[in-house]
């Protein structure tokens, strides 16, 4: 048999296996991030937080998740039924599929593409479509307002988000996440080179996934639950999962791009070989990722929410010029010093 054919069949099989595995992984990820949020916010608010289900209430978010799945699934009378049904899938798949390109450890990446960065932004941008059509199809004015807010917000913040990454791409000369991490092994973490790019990315990422202080989309004191207002049961569960998975993914990408991915910080050996190296990389990757998850939750417990026009003004008047200047300076430095 043609070895090229065998290889391609194997590749497809590998891709399918990896996809399935990652899809399955999203559920525990959502549960862990959700549990962290429940517990950390509770501690910051001088409460105990959930402590009845499991040891120290560890399974509370899982219980919430399963409960949502077991609830009745209602569709409003005048909803656009197919779109209303598909929208949660769109949002969830956008979050889950973008997990494919994250290198968790050396060699441990589902889809080591040469254009991983482009793939990531193409996929994560799909969630805006899901939010928008969810708002439209619900036949509810709050949902419509939320959907439009989400569209405006995400489209605006895609631009500084992407531009802040172009700095890293110019610096490393590659679009593959794995190669970006390997570049950081030689040159040090990219955050040292991108002191302006990192905060831009962090702010824009928070806005992209609707975290406080940019949670305009589901601002429950204004527009009841935004695009999710009419969603119940399993379909709401998908939004609920997607929100936490997206938080994890954004923090993972942040770590990969700016904080050396699986690389250990200075006093420790940066990376090991063999199977031990994989485990070692995984540990550091998750440590750094959950550190940023913690920071996002901390911000949520502290800050109020900005207004729509302030949000857009910040994107277009502050973040975009800054990102352009950052890109310009980075390119000039790369050109002059032939990095």
């Amino acid at each position: 048999m043609d070895p090229a054919f065998v290889e391609s069949v194997l590749g497809v099989g590998r891709f399918l296996a990896a996809t399935t595995l990652l899809l399955l992984l999203t559920v525990p990820t959502a549960f862990i991030v959700g549990q962290l949020e429940l517990k950390i916010i509770a501690l910051m608010q001088l409460r105990y937080g959930p402590n009845r289900v499991g040891p120290r209430g560890m399974f509370q978010s899982a219980i919430h998740g399963f409960k949502i799945l077991a609830k009745e699934d209602q569709t409003p009378d005048r909803a656009d039924v197919p779109v209303f049904t598909l929208a949660p899938w769109m949002v969830f798949m956008a979050a889950a599929m973008s997990m494919l390109v994250i290198p968790f450890a050396p060699g441990l990446v589902a889809f080591d593409s040469d254009i991983g960065v482009i793939y990531f932004f193409a996929i994560i941008g799909l969630s805006v479509v899901g939010m928008l059509v969810a708002g439209w199809a619900s036949y509810n004015k709050y949902a419509l307002l939320g959907g439009l807010r989400s569209a405006a917000q995400m489209v605006s913040y895609e631009i500084p988000l992407t531009l802040s990454i172009v700095g890293v791409v110019v610096l490393t000369g590659t679009l593959s996440f794995t190669h970006i991490v390997e570049w950081q092994l030689e040159h040090g973490w990219a955050v040292i080179w991108q002191l302006v790019g990192f905060p831009i990315f962090f702010i824009a990422a928070a806005a992209e996934i609707n975290r406080t202080p940019f949670d305009m989309v589901e601002a429950d004191s204004e527009i009841v639950a935004g695009p999710f207002t009419e969603y119940s049961g399993m379909r709401f569960g998908f939004f609920y999962f997607a929100e936490y998975v997206a938080l994890f993914i954004m923090c993972g990408i942040l770590v990969t791009l700016f904080f050396g991915g699986w690389l250990a910080p200075w006093p420790f050996p940066a990376q090991l070989d063999g199977f031990a190296g994989t485990v070692y990389g995984l540990i550091w990757f998750f440590l750094k990722t959950y550190l940023f998850v913690f920071i996002a939750i901390w911000v949520r417990a502290t800050l109020p929410r900005v207004r729509v026009d302030q949000l857009m003004g910040m994107a277009w008047k502050a973040l975009l010029p800054l990102a352009l200047i950052n890109l310009f300076v980075t390119a000039a430095v790369v050109l002059i010093f032939k990095l």
Partner: protein
């Protein structure tokens, strides 16, 4: 060919009630489960799954963020640092009725509010429960004589747990919600029977007292 005697026509077919005489029931701790009678190995799994679902529901009761009057402040106090119902998994007060499990009717229900409240109840997905918090919602309370107050919320919608008090202390509401958890585990709530009948969506505006 073996001859079997068919049952007589007038003899009622009795389905043995397994409660009490099935040894498996005790093993699973389900003696008191009303639907817990299972008669063979095949029914173990669905029944057991039902019980697990009940446990899950009981430990994740999201209240609807809907306060009517004075009791709403004590309801919020129940969720805050001193009396923390997040411990029981009841914290995320959902703003949208589509994602809520428990409707805590906290405060006096007036005739003008009765229609919207019944509608809220109808918008909540099954399974759902209702807690009447405060004397006004259980019976009309100190406003029983008023021309615009519904004399107890159970006149317009089913109620699972009544928490009297004017207003009840947060501990009282927590006790009521723990009673609701027991009720959920034993499947004694209103929602099963209510679901068959469907909500009564007539207009109450100005008519109910």
């Amino acid at each position: 060919m073996a001859i079997t005697t068919p049952p007589k026509a007038d003899e009622p077919i009795v389905i043995p009630d397994a409660a009490g005489d099935d040894p498996l029931l005790g093993e699973f701790g389900m003696e008191n489960h009303p639907q817990g009678g299972f008669h063979g190995l095949l029914e173990v799994i669905p029944t057991r799954a039902d019980y697990i679902l009940d446990l899950i529901r009981a430990n994740s009761l999201w209240p609807l963020l809907s306060g009517l009057s004075c009791c709403a402040i004590e309801m919020m106090s129940t969720a805050t640092s001193v009396n923390d119902i997040d411990r029981f998994g009841m914290f995320p007060f959902r703003a949208s009725p589509r994602q809520a499990d428990v409707l805590i009717v906290a405060g006096t229900l007036t005739t003008k509010m009765a229609g919207p409240l019944v509608r809220l109840w109808a918008q909540m997905p099954e399974p759902k429960w209702c807690v009447a918090m405060g004397t006004c919602t259980t019976s009309g309370g100190r406003f029983k004589r008023s021309y615009s107050v519904v004399q107890g919320v159970d006149r317009v919608m089913p109620v699972d747990v009544y928490v009297p008090g004017c207003p009840p202390r947060p501990e009282g509401l927590i006790y009521g919600l723990m009673k609701l958890q027991e009720l959920v585990k034993q499947r004694r709530g209103q929602w099963g029977t209510y679901a068959d009948r469907g909500p009564d969506l007539r207009s109450w505006e100005g008519d109910v007292r």
